[in-house]
């Protein structure tokens, strides 16, 4: 149906932009944790996708293709900045240093602290957690975007969560999270 309304390739690409820009923005903003960086990354990604359009194969999922370009643009930016993995002690110290002002709302505080904590993770762990835990994609979808096996995505998520847990532990009492502890623990204990 869409093709009937499409006149020329530029319109076709504008359709992609319209459909995906909010989601691409969310992925980039969460991965990079900085609106300026995210804006640059998304712009680079859309321009790159535009240039690479002739290499797109119709039998591939355009969403996966586009997500991959955006995530890679974000990872490139992070790597150019040479963000080194940091030790757990440093993570906790940095989180305490970046503690938001006390007059901010609880929700905003949680959001800012999560963003600050994510920025301390290695790029590959951050990207996996953004896709799986924050965007809600399945491990298989995230694996397709990241172009790695599903097991690698699980492993990156596990290591990322293990690093974040002590940093974000003080937030557990501020959110309605009590429901997740006992059932999950029981499930894992009982196999």
């Amino acid at each position: 149906m869409l093709t009937r309304h499409i006149e020329g390739d530029t319109t076709a690409f504008s359709e992609i932009v319209k459909r995906h820009r909010d989601r691409m923005w969310a992925v980039a903003l969460r991965t990079l944790g900085d609106p300026d960086e995210a804006a640059d990354a998304v712009q680079d990604a859309f321009v790159s996708a535009y240039r690479k359009a002739e290499s797109f194969r119709g039998d591939a999922a355009v969403t996966t293709w586009l997500h991959r370009i955006v995530v890679n643009a974000c990872l490139d930016r992070m790597r150019r900045k040479s963000v080194r993995p940091v030790a757990d002690d440093e993570l906790i110290e940095a989180a305490e240093r970046d503690m938001p002002l006390p007059d901010q709302t609880a929700e905003r505080e949680v959001s800012l602290e999560v963003t600050a904590a994510l920025k301390l993770l290695p790029a590959d762990q951050r990207a996996a957690l953004v896709l799986v835990d924050m965007m809600g994609y399945s491990v298989e979808d995230a694996a397709a975007v990241l172009d790695v096996p599903a097991g690698t995505v699980k492993s990156r998520c596990a290591r990322g969560r293990a690093k974040l847990a002590p940093i974000l532990s003080h937030l557990r009492n501020r959110t309605d999270l009590t429901r997740v502890s006992s059932p999950k623990g029981a499930q894992l204990r009982d196999g």
Binding site: M1, L2, T3, D9, T10, A12, S14, I16, V17, R19, R21, D22, R23, M24, W25, A26, P35, D36, A39, V42, Q43, F46, V47, Y50, E54, F56, G58, A61, V62, T63, T105, E107, R108, V110, L112, V114, T115, L118, Y137, D141, G151, K154, S155, A158, R159, R161, A162, L164, A165, L171, R172, T175, L177, V180, S181, K184, G185, L188, R189, G191
Partner: protein
């Protein structure tokens, strides 16, 4: 295990992801059955997932969408899209797991109030119909992503009550307390507020009134302090904080505007500064 007492978080996280072999998983589960501390650690890992999923989704800010439009237009001028044939995007994406619309969470701390009220996809606008139409004309010419913005002013915007003001009647000329208030939701940085600002605020001058009495009062207060009417007002964010951004002409002949950034309590979030308009 650490110190022959507890398992470290990474092992527990791997257990939760099903990454451990059967024998190790059984061993860890047996330990969890009798160790409250490790059970707490496991719950902490689950809480991390909940915290991450609770961070709200925000729509792409107008300024970013316009930037991308301009970049893609430049690409188009250089030679156009080189697709061999136009794919049927609807067909390709119909089963996509990512085709659900992005909706800002109701409690989203970084979603503007107007957007929260409407729960619409994209940004919310609070501006008079005349100004919205003018914006649609201007942005319509930009194309691509801003086409959504223009249509968003129809179905996602906030209808503004109050006297309609002709677009030709600039607040500067009429000296009435009338201005356009937008809710772009953009998270401004200090650098962006040095200008140019036109890309963020839209066509100048904005006219109209605002239904939010508190914002209206604050803008009127600042206008009174500076003894001039604002040319644009945007309800957005400044470094992650709720903010109202106001732009006043400082010297139109040299394209200089004074930028005032206030929080919900109408106190300045940053010192007043000068910026370029376009």
């Amino acid at each position: 295990m650490t110190g022959d007492t507890h398992y470290d978080l990474e092992i527990l996280a791997e257990l939760a992801e099903g990454l451990l072999d059967d024998a190790t998983a059984l061993e860890v589960r047996s330990h969890l059955a009798i160790c409250d501390a490790c059970g707490e650690s496991l719950a902490g890992l689950a809480a991390v997932r909940e915290l991450l999923s609770a961070v709200p989704v925000t729509a792409m800010p107008l300024g970013v969408a316009m930037r991308i439009d301009r970049a893609l237009e430049s690409e188009a001028e250089r030679g156009g899209l080189r697709l061999v044939e136009t794919p049927d995007w609807d067909e390709i994406m119909k089963d996509s797991p990512w085709e659900q619309p992005v909706e800002p969470a109701p409690t989203a701390p970084v979603v503007p109030l107007a957007a929260r009220r409407k729960k619409t996809r994209g940004r919310a606008w609070a501006m008079p119909v005349a100004a919205a139409a003018a914006a649609a004309v201007v942005f319509g010419g930009v194309g691509l992503a801003t086409q959504i913005v223009a249509s968003g002013s129809g179905d996602g915007g906030v209808t503004v009550a109050g006297p309609a003001v002709s677009p030709e009647k600039s607040p500067l000329k009429t000296a009435e307390s009338a201005w356009a208030v937008r809710a772009s939701g953009h998270n401004y940085t200090s650098r962006e507020l040095n200008g140019p600002l036109l890309g963020y605020f839209g066509p100048e001058p904005g006219t109209g009134t605002n239904t939010d009495a508190q914002t209206d009062k604050c803008v009127a207060h600042k206008a009174n302090e500076l003894d001039r009417q604002p040319i644009a007002v945007d309800q957005a964010f400044y470094n992650g904080q709720d903010a109202t951004i106001m732009a006043f002409w400082e010297d139109k002949t040299i394209n200089a505007v004074r930028v005032v950034v206030v929080g919900p309590d109408c106190h300045n979030l940053r010192p007043e500064g000068l910026a370029t308009w376009n």
